[in-house]
């Protein structure tokens, strides 16, 4: 038994940074917030002077808009391709605004209203009847009662009628508990309550949200990292950390990573660095996927041959990660490799399986 948590929540991971920001915070705080808007912004985009790390790579204006939205009466909807760090951003925002990021609802086909609003402790319910004691509060109810930010991951994967239970909490800021009587029957949202929802554009699910619910959210699109150098350093740093954890002694060379990141960017944007239009793969070509491919490349090289991963390993790994089970994508990938004309990927093109 060990008591090391694999991944503590953001407010624990960055507890000292939050504390420093709180101490140095002299800005006006919106009611119910743990930090001022400016301090919350610094928490996400970093501040060298206070020793606060940069945690999100992207336009600073996106963070500004997101924070201002949370301070207004609309919810914040983060949309974008899978793997663009939407969930990380929502976690960071929640930690900065309310000091907790654990009031989280994970959306899915099986999500029910119980998991969002409240359910009952049935033993107590049978013994005592409905009462605040037998009520089991779910994240939305807790967020409203305590005035905190509630995170709703992958909201569009929930059935429509389940999504719509957010309507009255967002517009009237009240949640009715019809089983209870008296003042307990209505839970009014305290200052500081807001909702951050995330949805990915691949599920095409955003379209299924009702117009009424859409109207209660401000949409912010999170884009893949725009700058090649930034993405490369990020992939390098993350892959290095993963490989060290896996006990790999030799990291893939930087030029292999460069080839990897360039290929991912070109296949994601459907455009080569030179500007020619190419195929866009239907699979997910996010930075996170690039990191996992870099990890796999390093593992292959090290454990199969005891050397750093090469471009040949990269081509072998690409089929599994980029094309997955889609023959169309595999054909596109082959065409992409064939038309490289030269370079390490081109030389290794025969290794693409299938």
């Amino acid at each position: 038994m060990n008591d090391h948590v694999q991944r503590p929540p953001a407010e624990v991971r960055y507890a000292d940074e939050l504390a420093r920001l709180r101490d140095a915070d002299d800005g006006a705080r919106p009611p119910g917030w743990a930090l001022s808007l400016r301090a919350a912004r610094r928490f996400v985009i970093g501040d060298e002077k206070l020793g606060v790390t940069r945690k999100f790579v992207g336009d600073p204006s996106l963070i500004d808009r997101a924070l201002v939205t949370l301070a207004t009466s609309r919810g914040l909807m983060l949309v974008g391709e899978p793997g663009t760090a939407k969930s990380l951003l929502s976690e960071l925002l929640a930690a900065a605004v309310s000091g907790t990021s654990t009031l989280t609802i994970q959306g899915g086909a099986a999500t029910t209203e119980d998991q969002i609003k409240y359910s009952w402790n049935y033993a107590l319910l049978v013994a005592e009847g409905p009462s605040p004691r037998s009520l089991v509060a779910a994240p939305l109810l807790r967020g409203m009662a305590e005035g905190r930010v509630v995170r709703f991951e992958e909201i569009t994967r929930c059935p429509l009628e389940v999504q719509d239970c957010l309507l009255s909490p967002l517009s009237d800021r009240v949640l009715a508990i019809p089983e209870l009587t008296g003042p307990d029957a209505m839970v009014f949202a305290r200052e500081g309550f807001s909702v951050i929802a995330t949805a990915n554009t691949r599920d095409r699910g955003v379209n299924e949200m009702s117009a009424a619910l859409k109207r209660r959210f401000n949409f912010e699109t999170v884009f893949p990292i725009a700058d090649f150098g930034t993405e490369l350093s990020l992939v390098e740093a993350e892959a290095t950390a993963l490989l060290q954890r896996s006990g790999v002694g030799a990291l893939p060379h930087r030029d292999v990573l460069e080839v990897l990141v360039r290929a991912f960017r070109e296949l994601r944007q459907g455009q080569t660095a030179r500007g020619d239009a190419t195929d866009r793969l239907s699979g997910v070509m996010s930075t996170a996927e690039a990191v996992s491919v870099a990890h796999a490349v390093g593992l292959r090289g090290w454990f199969l041959r005891g050397e750093p991963g090469t471009a040949a390993d990269l081509v072998t790994c690409l089929a599994g990660t980029a094309a997955k089970d889609s023959p169309d994508d595999l054909a596109k990938l082959r065409r992409y490799l064939e038309h490289q004309g030269s370079g390490p990927l081109y030389d290794a093109r025969h290794l693409l399986p299938g």
Binding site: L37, R38, R41, I45, D59, P60, S61, L62, D64, R65, L67, V68, T69, A71, T72, R74, V79, G80, T201, V206, N207, K214, R215, F217, N218, F219, E220, T221, F223, A226, T272, R274, G275, D276, A277, T278, D279, R335, E338, H339, G341
Partner: protein, 754 residues
């Protein structure tokens, strides 16, 4: 008395105000402005009372180089306020920069583009420190929205930092040395009266340094080389062209917003921006509810507060509107966050917002402005070539004099000058006929059209080149139009297409999605490259690069065509033929990758998902390039010989490799055997496509085929005898149907078995 240096950002209202205030307060003897020094004798023209924006256009041409550039001015340009304020206080106003034709400005299309954009490292770091997206937002944050106190010091500090110890290009150094020379002379001449110097902030630190010591006489105006044609004159300009979202080398974006800011301050500008966007969106039928506007306003105010702005800045308002009005995922990032040209695929609401920011104001010149030189140049040239009057003109393009006249007329046609119509002549698709027929009609509409076209250049050649360049930039992706434009360029004899135009062409080719029309462009470019001597395009290397890009793209597209059986597409087949021609004639000089092309051809030929005509063409491409087929042609032909596919496949093959088919022993016999073996129904299905396929043989070769087949089948009768038919085709067809019915009946009754 020393000079007061004001480093400005071009087209910045805050700087314009600072310049005007400084000049009014100091009442200097000289106001020195960054601008073309050759315009100094004609400053009066600038101050006639035009409706801004206008621009000083300078055109230059000599044997090697051609260049056209603009120095745009609008109400809130610091250069403009320097001119007007200087005049109002009675100062001597002078432009002090090198003339636009000078080699130091050879890469500059817009004199008032941001010089510091070329040295981006520092601005990037500043953006990170201030947590803003890009230098435009940073500029607003530091200068436009802030109150004016201490603006001059802040500007100086900013530009000192931006300039830092950046190594400047020699071109910038030459300009700075020349400007500093003017400053020294003016300071010496002014005695103890002040001198105000208004230049781009990037140049300021260097000017302050250089102005200390050196020659104090008035500098000489550089003279263009003797053989050069140079002209500078005023042209109307527009907000659209000023806008950085649209143009290359622009300065500040969003002219309509800054015009508003200049006229009524940041608070009103923010309101005006919201109003303009709302009006535009509602005009387009997009719902913008009051609730949305409240949300947008609240967000904008909130953002302004977070970012420390007294009034909402441009990006605050835009961010607020985008948050409130865009209710779905975006495909491209917000243009004001990324900066630069607006990308295709933007959300309609965002596109409208950017358009509202840009505005549609168009400048107008005062009626007494001198006519642009183009008007005189055209009149002179028409008179000199004897094309002055009305009537029909027939030109023989083989004669140099007529070729010259044809080019002049084509240039006028491209400039859309009324009364110049070509009735016949060579076109991009057809045969190159060396004669042209024109109808000229003199009309009163010509003068206004020429004045309007005057903004493009000093003489017809330059203007036509500029118009073509603009059209090429405006039609990305449409290969058919592009092929026509390339051909026009050749007809106009505009010489080498250069720089930006080639980039635009290469980008358009790189983004082409239709193989057929790409093939047409490739064919035109290849013809012009190969017959450079005939067309006198002088664009050998330029077209070479285009051909290489087009071949690469065509091969890429060919490999992506899927969809199985489809009728033959002659344009697609033509594209493959153009690729083959390029590889045959230009592979070595242009460094085309024949091996890669053969690889693509073999893969396409073997791919069962590709349409049959393309597979046939790919097979033919390999066959004709190698001289021998990659796979056994006999097997390949047999493999595709089903009634529905055969003709289409053969069409591709014949188009690319008909020589090889004719000269391979046994091919014709094999085809004969396969056609013979078809059922009557199958033959009728295959017939139209087969006809089309054999259409790729010229008549003489078709005759040869026919003769060989006749010999094969009859052993001697002459072909024409067989072709002659005594009965009508309908009768023969009816007879054959009767035969068929009899055969069927006999077979049904078991009387015959075969």
């Amino acid at each position: 008395m020393t000079a007061t240096f004001i480093g400005v950002r071009h087209h910045s209202p805050a700087c314009a105000r600072l310049v005007a205030d400084t000049i009014t307060a100091l009442r200097p003897a000289y106001v020195l402005v960054e601008g073309p020094a050759d315009m100094n004798p004609r400053l009066g023209e600038l101050l006639l009372g035009h409706d801004l924006p206008i621009a000083v256009y300078t055109g230059y041409r000599d044997a090697e180089r051609r260049h056209g550039s603009w120095a745009p001015l609008c109400d809130y340009s610091p250069e403009w306020t320097a001119l007007t304020a200087g005049r109002d206080v009675g100062a001597e106003v002078r432009f002090i920069d090198l003339p636009a034709w000078h080699p130091a400005l050879a890469d500059v299309r817009n004199r008032y583009a941001d010089a510091e954009a070329r040295y981006a490292e520092v601005t990037e770091r500043l953006c990170r420190d201030f947590a803003v997206d890009n230098p435009d937002a940073l500029w607003d944050h530091l200068f436009e929205i802030e109150p004016a106190d201490g603006l001059a010091d802040r500007l100086a500090a900013y530009f000192d930092l931006v300039r830092g110890d950046a190594r400047t290009a020699p071109d910038d150094e030459a300009r700075e040395a020349y400007m500093a020379h003017w400053v020294r002379a003016a300071v010496a001449d002014a005695g103890d009266r002040p001198v105000v110097v208004v230049t781009g902030g990037f140049h300021r630190p260097a000017l302050v340094r250089f102005a200390e010591e050196g020659d104090r006489t008035w500098p000489e105006l550089p003279q263009p080389p003797g053989d050069a044609v140079v002209g500078s004159y005023l042209v109307p300009y527009s907000f659209r062209r000023l806008d950085a979202f649209d143009g290359y080398q622009s300065g500040m974006p969003s002219p309509a917003y800054y015009q508003h800011l200049w006229e009524s301050g940041p608070h009103e500008a923010a309101r005006g921006l919201t109003e303009a966007v709302t009006a535009r969106l509602r005009g387009r039928g997009q719902p913008v509810s009051t609730a949305d506007l409240i949300a947008a306003r609240a967000t904008a105010e909130g953002l302004a507060a977070v970012r420390g702005h007294v009034h909402p800045a441009r990006v605050d308002v835009l961010d607020g509107l985008a948050s409130a009005l865009v209710g779905e995922a975006l495909d491209t990032p917000l243009p004001w966050a990324t900066g630069g040209r607006i990308r295709p695929g933007g959300h309609p609401v965002i596109v409208e917002m950017v358009a509202a920011l840009s505005g549609d104001r168009v400048g107008r010149l005062h009626p007494s402005t001198p006519l642009p030189p183009l008007v005189h140049a055209v009149a002179d040239r028409l008179r000199a070539t004897g094309l002055g009057g009305s009537g029909e003109v027939r030109l023989d393009l083989g004669k140099p004099a007529d070729l010259d006249r044809s080019r002049l007329l084509h240039r006028l046609r491209v400039l859309a000058i009324p009364g110049v119509v070509r009735d016949s002549g060579p076109g991009p698709g057809g045969d190159p006929v060396p004669a042209e027929q024109w109808t000229l009609t003199d009309s009163d509409d010509r003068l206004p059209a020429l004045i309007e076209a005057g903004g493009y250049g000093v003489d017809p050649e330059e203007a036509a080149a500029a118009v073509l360049a603009e059209r090429i930039a405006a039609t990305p992706g449409d290969m058919d139009v592009l092929a026509g434009l390339l051909f026009d360029a050749a007809l106009c004899g505009v010489g080498a297409l250069t720089g930006q135009v080639l980039d635009d062409l290469a980008r358009a080719v790189g983004a082409a999605a239709d193989l057929g029309s790409l093939g047409r462009t490739l064919a035109v470019a290849l013809a012009m490259w190969r017959h450079d001597g005939l067309f006198h395009t002088g664009g050998g290397p330029a077209f070479g690069a285009l051909i290489a890009a087009a071949v690469r793209r065509a091969l890429w597209l060919a490999e992506g065509v899927r969809g199985g059986p489809a009728p033959a597409d002659p344009k697609r087949i033509g594209a493959m033929a153009a690729v083959r021609d390029a590889l045959v004639h230009a592979a070595a000089p242009l460094g085309l990758d024949t091996t890669a092309a053969l690889g693509v051809a073999d893969r396409v030929a073997a791919c069962h998902d590709a349409p049959p005509d393309l597979r046939g063409a790919a097979f033919g491409l390999g066959w004709s390039l190698r001289g021998t087929a990659a796979a056994d042609p006999g097997r390949a032909v047999r493999g595709t010989f089903t009634p529905a596919l055969a003709g289409d496949w053969l069409a591709g093959l014949f188009a690319l490799a008909r020589e090889e088919v004719l000269h391979t022993p046994g091919m014709l016999e094999l085809l004969d055997e396969l056609v013979e073996a078809m059922t009557d129904d199958g033959f009728l299905i295959a017939l139209p496509a087969l006809r089309q396929a054999f259409g790729y043989f010229p008549p003489r070769e078709r005759h040869l085929i026919a003769a060989r087949l006749v010999r094969l089948r009859t052993g001697g009768t002459s072909g024409p005898d067989l072709m002659r038919l005594d009965a009508t085709p309908e009768l023969v067809a009816a007879g054959m149907r009767l035969d068929e019915r009899v055969d069927t009946a006999l077979r049904r009754e078991g009387l015959i078995t075969s």
